[in-house]
């Protein structure tokens, strides 16, 4: 019960943050010239879209048990391309850079496209937050035994050991800001682990001394394979 209440508190805090920013951006319109007004408008749209996506993800978690999300062969590169397209503005706005490397031979994985999008999107959002102007985040897709691995590397603080252990077990019990890295509630990670479990994918984290890599290993789809 206590962890459930904590989870609700964290979600409420995460959803409050974009509202506070939207309020400030609305005030900012009084201080802006024509060009800046247009930038502020774009920022307002971007902030609200991210908030809407987060609310949608939380709603999806509530529906996971109903099994409403169909699994199908999905092109993992296409999903990553879509995530990058959606987050390009955010990376540019924050003066951050994302390096992309696709080296997977198996193009299709068994997943739900929307859930997979959310997993990669949340990992990338995390990377934006923890990168600096000097350090570049990296998104890589590679073959990993009988799976395809999507890995996002950031250069933020190392992941706390207990959270890393939870990740190793494959799921996060509940988002909590105390256990996570500074400035993060872990809600995105919680969403990513929930969705990955549903898709029979494995999430994990690799601790580096100068950051963290989050990855998801997805089962390869053999449907379109000839050999």
């Amino acid at each position: 019960m206590e962890s459930e209440v904590n989870g609700i508190l964290v979600a409420a805090h995460e959803l409050k943050a974009p509202l506070s920013i939207l309020r400030q951006l609305a005030f900012s319109l009084d201080f802006a010239d024509q060009k800046e007004t247009s930038n502020i408008r774009t920022e307002m749209i971007s902030v609200s879209e991210r908030a809407i996506r987060q609310v949608n993800d939380l709603t999806k978690i509530a529906h996971l048990e109903d099994g409403l999300f169909e699994m199908e062969p999905v092109s993992v590169r296409a999903v990553c391309d879509d995530v990058i397209k959606e987050l390009t503005y955010l990376f540019r706005f924050n003066n951050r850079d994302l390096k992309v490397k696709y080296s997977n031979n198996s193009r299709l994985v068994v997943a739900n496209r929307n859930l997979l999008f959310s997993v990669i999107y949340n990992f990338c959002l995390n990377a934006v937050h923890y990168s600096t102007e000097e350090t570049m985040s990296r998104l890589e897709i590679s073959d990993h035994y009988d799976k395809v691995r999507v890995k996002i590397r950031d250069f933020g603080p190392a992941l706390p050991m207990d959270v890393w252990r939870e990740m190793k077990r494959g799921w996060i019990k509940c988002p909590t800001s105390i256990a996570m890295r500074p400035g993060s509630s872990g809600l995105g990670l919680y969403i990513a682990t929930k969705f990955s479990r549903y898709m029979n994918a494995e999430v994990g984290a690799i601790r580096h001394r100068d950051g963290t890599s989050f990855f998801v290993d997805l089962p390869i789809s053999n449907q379109a394979r000839l050999f």
Binding site: I21, Q24, L25, F27, S28, F31, Y130, T132, P182, G183
Partner: protein, 115 residues
């Protein structure tokens, strides 16, 4: 010079706008800000508490430990409930709540301390 130490760039840019024509600089973490302090000594600092890396309290401790930086007025901007907490020993001249902050409040501090 006004320092705005805030890891949410959207929020930081709003504060910068409220400072109007005053010379101001945004830092996304405390280490960057501390590294710059000798080059561009600030007259006023707006400081978020929950930062990536060392938090705002660590930064306040660092400021308080040097004779020159201990005199810099700091305005804490946070969504944490800091009501009733006395932070004046750290040079904190005001606490603004992120949820209720208005441009006027920021402007008042800028008028009072930035020169």
């Amino acid at each position: 010079m006004i320092y705005i130490i805030e890891d949410d760039l959207d929020f930081a840019k709003c504060i910068k706008r409220y400072c109007r024509d005053e010379n101001s600089k945004i830092f996304s973490n405390a280490i960057e800000a501390m590294g710059q302090i000798d080059k561009d000594f600030p007259n006023l600092i707006f400081l978020d508490i929950l930062l990536t890396g060392p938090d705002g309290f660590t930064f306040l401790n660092e400021l308080a430990s040097y004779s020159d930086t201990s005199k810099i007025p700091v305005v804490v901007i946070s969504s944490l409930n800091l009501k009733g907490k006395d932070l004046s020993d750290y040079g904190v001249v005001g606490v603004l709540n992120k949820d209720t902050l208005t441009p006027k409040e920021v402007e008042n501090y800028v008028k009072r301390y930035s020169h």
